[in-house]
């Protein structure tokens, strides 16, 4: 799950990080915004159920929808643990 600050919310951390990249010589950085990633392992094989549960989790706790948006991606078990 990816949680991002809403576009209308200023992200001073992102601005600072973007400036640091500029200082390193990456001149093409037009903007940078920082977000959060939650890797959640669910005990289900049903992608639809997984998406429902993750969406509920985002609304209940993982994102504050006043300031953040969230995006749920359901991936099959990677097996590389």
């Amino acid at each position: 799950m990816v949680v991002r600050l809403r576009a209308e919310v200023l992200d001073p951390q992102g601005v600072t990080i973007g400036k640091a990249l500029e200082h390193l010589g990456y001149d093409n950085v037009a903007s940078l915004r920082q977000g959060k990633v939650f890797d959640v392992e669910l005990q289900t094989d049903d992608p639809a159920q997984a998406e429902r549960e993750l969406t509920a989790m985002a609304k209940a706790l993982l994102a504050n929808t006043v300031t953040e948006t969230f995006e749920v991606r359901v991936l099959p078990e990677s097996g590389d643990d």
């Binding site: 200023l10 001073p12 951390q13 706790l61 504050n64 006043v66 300031t67």
Partner: protein, 245 residues
């Protein structure tokens, strides 16, 4: 007249809040977040600090503490609830107050004195203040930058829910007097009834001349008088904001 001060793992201002209540003649005691019933309280304070280490977002985990369902019932039944600093963050996370607290505009944890202007002196927390009175407070936070979408901010202003604003020595507004970047210089907001209020500054830390200011007393004396007014039926209106027309 008894005040309960709710605290969580990581809170650090609960004893100061108890002491501040007692300093103005209120009875007060701490309430551990595991409690699920609240009886015999005339007002509740959600204490400042760093509940659950500020993990995820400030106040996001505290919101699910067992005591919070009882706090919501207490508020729904018309109780007075004051959230200070982290307590304000908890109230917004719960949706008991609108908006959210973002990282300070300068990305610094700021521990300093500040000035704020009383926008309404008819709330349970400001009735001992003069209109427009400038109070010297203390702040200590990283995430106190009040944010809400433009419609919500307009509504707050229209309803008179902005109780206090950051200001200069004469009560004047300017970006340099806003220590955290809060929208509209907001320092304290209430719900539409005025009974639930949140603020980032710490009134409980400015109760003694040795600490640089005694202006916190105005808020705690207001709370004391509001509780007293609510207990004498003919004066109940003092404790509830009249709706602005």
């Amino acid at each position: 007249m008894r005040v309960g001060v709710v605290y969580y793992p990581g809170s650090n201002c609960e004893q100061d809040a108890v002491w501040a209540c007692q300093a103005v003649g209120l009875e007060a005691e701490t309430i551990w977040h595991k409690r699920s019933t609240l009886q015999g309280y005339d007002a509740l304070i959600l204490a400042g600090g760093f509940s659950y280490g500020d993990h995820l977002r400030c106040g996001a985990i505290a919101r699910f503490s067992p005591v919070m369902a009882a706090v919501e019932r207490f508020a729904a039944d018309g109780g007075l609830v004051l959230g200070i600093c982290n307590g304000f963050q908890v109230l917004t996370e719960m949706g008991m107050l609108p908006g959210a607290l973002l990282a300070n505009a300068g990305l610094k944890f700021r521990c300093q004195d500040l000035l704020m202007r009383v926008e309404r002196n008819d709330s349970p927390y400001t009735n001992a203040c003069d209109p427009g009175q400038v109070l010297r407070m203390n702040m200590a936070h990283y995430q106190g930058n009040y944010f809400a979408d433009p419609e919500t901010v307009a509504q707050l202003e229209e309803n008179g829910q902005v109780v206090m604003r950051f200001c200069g020595p004469q009560g004047e507004r300017a970006p340099r007097f806003n220590p955290n970047g809060s929208i509209h210089d907001i320092a304290a907001i209430s719900d539409p009834s005025g009974r639930i209020m949140g603020l980032m500054p710490h009134p409980e830390r400015v109760m003694d001349p040795a600490l640089g200011s005694v202006d916190g007393r105005f808020l705690f004396e207001s709370l004391r008088d509001a509780i007293a007014a609510r207990q004498s039926p003919e004066a109940v209106s003092v404790a509830v904001l009249p709706q602005q027309v």
